[in-house]
């Protein structure tokens, strides 16, 4: 998504969101019914529980060009499946450390507990996240992958690195 054309002043971040069916997705519906206008950058994927959000979904989203990922679930104690959100929280903390190591800024991955009645919170969270990701600029992972691939090819073609092979 974020090719060079989009890196002009008009660049808008794309954020992939995973909302749980029972709380945050319902809250997003409530935001709609209440006509709470907010930034149009977030694309929502509905899952039954935030516990379904596999870290590989998040990584895949970045790899395919997302500038941010937002996960929405029920508050602790409110999970429709009793404890799915606790599992999400644990997984999220591990993933965050991994993303940090990969150089993906903290603000690009966000976990929020939003109950079915918190339509207003959907708006504030989305607007806030869009603003923060905008300030960071595009992530451009697909392009960076291409660049890195080219570098690897270049290295391969020119036998760079041969001389630094360590011989026993």
């Amino acid at each position: 998504m974020s090719d060079n054309k989009k890196e002009t002043k008009n660049w808008e971040p794309t954020i992939v969101a995973f909302f749980c069916n029972w709380c945050t997705y319902t809250a997003a519906d409530l935001a709609g019914v209440s006509r709470l206008r907010h930034a149009a950058n977030v694309r929502i994927i509905r899952v039954m529980c935030s516990g379904r959000v596999d870290p590989q979904f998040i990584l895949n989203a970045y790899a395919k060009g997302a500038d941010g990922v937002l996960i929405g679930g029920c508050h602790f104690g409110d999970c429709h499946y009793m404890e799915g959100n606790y599992k999400t929280a644990r997984r999220f903390h591990l993933l965050k450390r991994m993303l940090q190591d990969m150089g993906i800024e903290e603000e690009r991955c966000r976990l929020e507990w939003i109950s079915a009645s918190e339509g207003e919170r959907v708006r504030t969270v989305i607007n806030d996240m869009v603003e923060k990701v905008k300030a960071l600029g595009p992530l451009r992972l697909p392009e960076r992958f291409n660049e890195w691939d080219k570098e690897m090819e270049f290295i391969g073609e020119h036998n760079i690195g041969e001389e630094v092979h360590i011989h026993a």
Partner: protein, 678 residues
């Protein structure tokens, strides 16, 4: 990676709904349909004014026949609203209903975005994701579970009573659980009801007796639900029955024990009379209490406190119904449906100290006044104030704890009408001059406005404006010994001081203090104010997001008796609908394990709160009991070998959706296809 290998076979029908102007105003539906028509696999792409209408659904069915469609995507409102509608339409068209995906471009797009171009772009992204996703949809079978015909009703106010009777009269077995020693709820405390002025007890108590004597109703008062497990059609409910130290089967309600209690007079605040009278440690809330069984309060009974009581109550009971050794018991019941009618609490007037509640004895809340003017109340219906006087002027302050940013923002809906009723009754009882201080009179209801007219004709005074404070500082001899209500009169544009003998605070309705705990126990949601959240504010007002759990009465929001009864009837009808169908369709979104990939690491097993994942010791593989799986997908996300998959939320389906959201650069596409957005 989206797998397009079955491109040849894939024939997707895409439909974008205008929803009148709801979507079409913000989203360029024609450009959207044109854009989607170019995507691989899409055979038909159309826009239509109302997809949920009969012609809209028939359009899909006709296209399935004419164009041999095998996947359907509809971009319209939220799937929470119409997913079932379209699944049925798809099924009627001859396709498996799960070969369908819905795109939410109303709640998630047109209603929340102003810029038409941005909205259209987002609708395109979301639609493209769905088109990518349906490639991976699988043919699934519907799942059905049997419904236990028995029902549980929690809360024995007028809503719970009506719901229980409706169900019981239709032949269903009902368990009615009430926290207090008697059913009746707030309505039992009221004197008369607006606008008809029939006495609350006269219309309520026959229903209470009917509950007690109904062969299909098991009434458990002084009891609380402590745990709920299971799912729609098959709930397992634990009920704690507090000891009342009286054998319910033996007690006939003769009240001899109360007369013979070592306390000659009542000593402790009588909860039913809002503390305006005193009761003994052994008491019955009110003469028509149901069941007509006394109760002993261990907090105040001498025997329980010191063990040194003459126990005259035991001697007085010729039936031997008093049993001080009674212990708390627990019951377990299996029910198919649950109706919550746990009611409300009134606003605590101490929270608005400037109205003097608790400071000046002659400031009352409306509920106290209901008891004060009731013939079976603490004064036998005579209007005698706390200081022993009879009031000659009364001021009723409306909207106390309602329509106020500092306390509760909502309108409690009932206060205008009950204030008018109290104005009428107070005038009738005492001949006093009555002043109403109001913001607006909200008399919307059958015969309500006419009642307002009647009260106006009775020369009750109405002063429009918020009351600033209630004070006792007399500014002139006429105010001496009176309470002075300082209020703005917005009709004449001045601040007035009205000296009165009695102030009535028309307190609003709030969620009960235990609403959050109850909500969690029954796995439902609350709205922002803390009342129980209905599934849809208009179209599913008594359903919740948990199937088989319904709500009725003021636990859902402030409402009066007619509305509570109507809702209770509706909730009972919804429960009956489930029961009479005999079985309920469940989403087939359960998880399953592909045995050959399972390494037997067991990491999934502790993740499942429903104990649905088991381990086969012979094959050293895990397996899922489908009947127990609720389809959250937590184990799917955690399986290190990817051997757990979930129907409807398969890895392939979600990854295709992510790729669909992101993979294609639309700007290039617009140029090439000369599509104009906006």
């Amino acid at each position: 990676m989206p797998n397009h290998q079955n491109n040849g076979n894939m024939r997707i029908g895409y439909y974008v709904c205008h929803c009148g102007h709801n979507i079409a105003n913000q989203v360029d539906v024609e450009a959207l349909a044109a854009y989607i028509s170019k995507l691989p696999g899409v055979a038909v792409s159309r826009s239509y004014k109302y997809m949920c209408s009969d012609p809209g659904q028939e359009l899909i069915q006709q296209d399935i026949k004419d164009h041999g469609l095998n996947r359907i995507v509809v971009a319209s409102c939220s799937p929470l609203l119409h997913e079932q509608t379209f699944r049925k339409a798809v099924e009627k068209g001859g396709l498996n209903p799960y070969f369908f995906q819905m795109v939410n471009i109303r709640e998630n797009v047109s209603w929340v975005h102003e810029d038409r171009k941005e909205a259209t772009q987002k609708a395109m992204d979301l639609s493209r994701a769905a088109v990518h996703r349906v490639f991976f949809h699988k043919e699934l079978e519907k799942k059905y579970v049997k419904i236990n015909p028995d029902a549980l009703v929690v809360g024995g106010g007028i809503a719970g009573i009506h719901a229980a009777l409706t169900l019981a009269n239709s032949g269903k077995k009902v368990y009615l659980v009430e926290k207090e020693p008697t059913i009746g709820g707030h309505m039992a405390q009221f004197d008369k009801t607006f606008p008809t002025l029939d006495c609350a007890a006269c219309i309520l108590t026959p229903k209470m007796s009917a509950v007690k004597s109904h062969p299909n109703i098991t009434l458990w008062t002084y009891s609380e639900v402590t745990n709920v497990s299971g799912y729609v059609g098959n709930y397992i409910v634990q009920v704690k029955r507090k000891p009342r130290y009286i054998d319910e089967k033996l007690c006939v309600g003769c009240l001899a024990c109360i007369d013979e209690c070592v306390y000659k007079e009542g000593k402790y605040a009588d909860e039913f009379n809002m503390g305006l009278s005193k009761r003994k440690p052994i008491y019955m809330s009110f003469p028509q209490a149901t069941p007509k069984v006394v109760v002993i309060d261990p907090e105040t009974c001498i025997q329980f406190k010191s063990g040194k009581c003459k126990q005259t109550c035991i001697e007085s009971c010729d039936r031997g119904a008093i049993d001080l050794s009674q212990k708390e018991t627990n019951e377990e019941v299996n029910v198919g449906t649950i109706i919550l009618s746990t009611g409300y609490r009134t606003f605590d007037a101490h929270r608005v100290p400037f109205y003097g509640y608790g400071k000046y004895p002659n400031v009352y809340t409306s509920l106290e006044v209901e008891r004060l003017i009731n013939a079976s109340g603490p004064t036998g219906g005579e209007l005698i104030l706390r200081d022993g006087s009879h009031p000659k002027t009364v001021g009723i302050i409306h909207c106390v704890g309602s329509r106020d940013r500092n306390t509760n923002r909502w309108c409690s809906r009932t206060c205008c009408m009950y204030s008018l009723k109290l104005a009428h009754l107070l005038k009738e009882h005492s001949g006093a001059e009555v002043y109403n201080f109001y913001i607006d009179i909200r008399a919307a209801g059958k015969a309500y406005e006419e009642f307002y007219d009647k009260v106006l004709e009775e020369n009750v005074h109405f002063i429009r404006g918020r009351v600033a404070e209630v004070i006792d500082w007399a500014a002139n001899p006429a105010e001496e010994g009176k309470l002075i209500i300082r209020a703005e009169d917005t009709m004449i544009g001045t601040v007035r001081r009205i000296p009165v003998d009695m102030v009535v605070l028309a307190v609003g309705m709030e969620p009960r203090e235990d609403a959050q705990a109850v909500r969690k126990m029954f796995n439902i949601s609350c709205s922002t104010e803390g009342f129980f959240l209905e599934r849809h504010p208009k179209l599913a007002p008594v359903d919740t997001f948990t199937d088989g759990v319904f709500i009725a009465g003021a636990c859902q929001g402030p409402k009066d008796i007619p509305d509570s009864v109507a809702q209770a009837g509706a909730a009972a009808a919804q429960a009956m609908m489930l029961v009479d169908t005999g079985e309920v369709e469940l989403e087939p979104n359960t998880a399953f394990i592909t045995e050959e990939h399972c390494s037997g690491c067991k990491s999934c097993i502790p993740l499942c709160p429903f104990h649905a994942i088991l381990f086969n010791d012979t094959s050293k593989k895990a397996y899922i009991n489908e009947a127990l799986c609720k389809g959250c997908g937590t184990c799917v996300a955690a399986c290190p070998s990817g051997s757990i998959q979930q129907n409807m939320f398969d890895d392939a389906e979600i990854l295709a959706e992510i790729n669909g959201l992101l993979a294609i650069d639309n700007s290039e596409f617009y140029e090439k296809e000369a599509i104009h957005v906006g």
